[in-house]
Amino acid sequence: MSSSFEKINYNLRPNKCIERKMMSEALGRLSFIDHLDNYRYIGFGSPYFADFILFHKNLGITDLISVEKEEAKKNRFEFNIPYSGITMKYGHSKTILPNLELGLKRNIIWLDYDDKVSDFMFSDIHSFFSETMAGSFFIISVNVEEEFMQPTEIEEDKISLRVFRLNKLIDRIGKERLPNELMTLNMNTRNISNATYEMIKRQIATSLLSRNGKSKDAIEFKQIFNFTYKDNATILTVGGIIFDKSQRAAVKKMAFSKLSFYADTSESCKIQSPNLTFREIKALDKALPGSLEFTSGKFQNKKLQDIPLIPTDIKNYAKVYRYYPNFTEANL
């Protein structure tokens, strides 16, 4: 089986690219707790290392670890390492993470799975939340695209789409973990996304509960990200900061809630970048930031009225314009 990096060119996922830049902006605020160069970044670099490049350039993080399960393709990963500060760790995240001495350093981790929600992801959440030093940042991305059922002619193989999707989900995560009230739903993209969000949230809470024991100096988690976007499959990203009592004031100063993409509930921030020409982008940028007030069938902002785009595209662009990638053909 080939890896997802062999199927998709990571550089050409505009929504993911936007998400990454938004994250970087939020992560910059961690400097209220500690110098960013004291942080360590842990991710799944794949051979593109897009997140590693961005966080090294933008945040100045110099200690970076890329976890990679395909030891067999070691040569290709090593060849593509963009900066010397990146260390490769080969193996499965569920046994690699516990050995990283997460308690000795503040970590920013991005568990950027390509897979659909699976049991090992909860192990990884547990390993991270049980150990990581207060002041760390946690991000997880999971594929929440609904399952597609192949039509069958064999009578006894016929089951409803609802049962088919539920069985698929239970195969991966078990019955125990799935909240009872969700067991009767048709696990379409929206519902699988909600269920995944809920299970991640519960695992974080349970792991922190065991970690805190009877201790009064409890470690807390504050959710900051809840993104969904679709480049090809729908992806859910949840993230936030892990902190203790002494850091509470610093977290408040970070004012995450002021970020346009801040999402601290089950309601996600949807990233939907429209496909635009450079001419359109230039024209839109001239009007932004600015009012998007839309009454009696038109934008109140005169500059926007002259752009021949549908209002939804304009609104979606306005949400992401500061992070919008410029893709063009180039001879590098």
Binding site: A72, I96, P98, N99, K175, T206, R211, G213
Partner: protein
């Protein structure tokens, strides 16, 4: 209370315990084996109290005799002062004024009396303590006939509270006759006795390895060594939490011996509560649970050891029968969460060892397996490792650079079925002997001519 009280106050509702019901309920909750275990625990407490924190228990001895008509247990611990017997030790349940021995494993509250009743109905206790000595007999049938009397009596002319006994003379003996039916048939059964010996040997392995002599029948229990690999190549992962009056130390790594010994071991104040555990009470919940995958043959070298210590034994996260952990205790939840992570740390090696052995990887290429095998030849006792934990940290060290799995090959395997007749015809025509050769030749023929 009783009838008289009821007459005095019409609002009063009788709730007197019926002695015989009370006794039968008490003994139903405990096995014979655990009843004897409770008496051993009490003896160990008395010995440790006399040893007063010294690690060497060579002078101390517990002797158990199991006969067809009697049971006895004798120890040379610090005995029981008459004052303690008079006010607390024989109470049912722990009174508020009851002070436990530091770092104890017995919890006088109920264990000793429950064990007595389980074993038989004529109980004779003899104690020689530093400042007093006494004998006490419990005739259970007679005691049951006096429903209101919740007390026992020292035997006539045995109580002496003016004496001064030297430490070498102190001790405690329980001698039980009129054995219960369960006791009688079990003590006559060699399998029961052997199992008892083996289990107490495990439960008290730490005390036995400190020199404590425990004799059951004619057999003296042997020290069981718990070990781990700890050398330049492989170092166990270690975690500790030390608080006022209590501590926990956790070690995990690999060791040899047979796979039966693999799993987690949990000690509370040196008493083994869980041995070789391979289920969800420790970490093995299956990958869909909150722990690690179910125990599997590839983990047979895994060893994890937990040592809970508490001055006040009520703070230990065990259950009241000392047969398992209190799964709801926040303290145990916290430690268990660590145990899960430490198991994953060691699994990183165990899974790589398995991967290296896969896909017909020639033995000489299995460099990580070879290094581990070499280290396994010299394991170290856990007591020794605990004596110097400085070089350890919460990370499992192993020579990851030696990991050398067989690379995935660039070839494809084709399989298909044909009728016997056609196969024989092609085989003869090609002049080869095996289906494999037929497959290769026919494929090559197509490739050479068509591609």
């Amino acid at each position: 209370m009783g009838t008289q009280a009821k007459n005095q106050n019409p609002n009063r509702v009788a709730a007197d315990p019926a002695k015989s019901f009370f006794v039968s309920m008490l003994v139903k909750d405990i096995t014979l084996r655990d009843a004897i275990g409770d008496l051993v625990d009490n003896a160990v407490d008395a010995i440790k109290a006399r040893a007063n924190g010294t690690a060497d228990l060579k002078e101390y001895e517990i002797e158990i005799k199991l006969g067809k008509s009697y049971f006895s247990i004798t120890d040379n611990g610090f005995g029981m002062e008459a004052e303690v017997a008079r006010n607390t030790a024989f109470n049912f349940g722990k009174s508020d004024k009851h002070e436990l021995i530091d770092n104890s494993i017995g919890q006088f509250g109920i264990g000793m009396k429950r064990a007595f009743f389980k074993l038989g109905s004529q109980i004779k206790v003899k104690s020689i303590a530093a400042n007093s000595q006494f004998e006490l007999t419990i005739d259970v049938p007679k005691w049951l006939k006096e429903p209101k009397r919740w007390e026992f009596e020292f035997d006539e002319n045995t109580l002496d509270e003016k004496t001064k006994n030297s430490p070498s003379k102190t001790g405690f003996t329980v001698h039980i006759t009129n054995l219960s039916f369960d006791s009688k048939i079990s003590f006559d059964n060699d399998t029961f006795v052997t199992t008892l010996q083996k289990e107490i040997e495990l439960e008290h392995m730490l005390n036995i390895s400190k020199g404590l002599k425990i004799k059951i029948g004619e057999y003296t229990l042997k020290p069981n060594q718990i070990t781990l690999v700890n050398d330049d190549n492989i170092r166990p992962t270690y975690w500790e939490k030390i608080e006022n009056g209590q501590s926990v130390k956790v070690l995990a790594g690999i060791s040899t011996k047979d796979s039966e010994d693999g799993g987690w071991y949990i000690f509370c104040n040196d008493r083994l509560i869980l041995a070789k555990n391979k289920n969800e009470e420790t970490v093995w919940t299956g990958s869909k649970g909150d722990g690690v995958p179910f125990w599997h043959a590839q983990y047979f070298r895994f060893r994890g050891y937990v040592f809970f210590e508490a001055v006040d034994s009520a703070k230990l996260p065990w259950n009241t029968t000392k047969t398992g952990m209190d799964m709801d205790s926040p303290y145990y939840k916290e430690v268990r969460s660590k145990m899960i992570i430490m198991t994953r740390q060691v699994m990183d090696l165990l899974e790589k060892l398995k991967e290296e052995r896969e896909r017909d990887n020639p033995e000489e290429n299995q460099t990580l397996n070879k290094a581990v095998e070499k280290s396994l030849k010299a394991t170290v006792s856990v007591t020794k490792i605990l004596a110097n934990v400085k070089p350890l940290n919460n990370k499992f060290h192993y020579p990851v650079v030696l990991f050398n799995p067989q690379k995935k090959t660039n070839s494809v395997k084709i399989a298909y079925q044909v009728s016997n007749e056609k196969y024989e015809a092609v085989k003869q025509n090609l002049g080869v002997d095996t289906p494999k050769e037929v497959g290769m030749e026919t494929f090559n023929y197509y490739y050479d001519n068509e591609i």
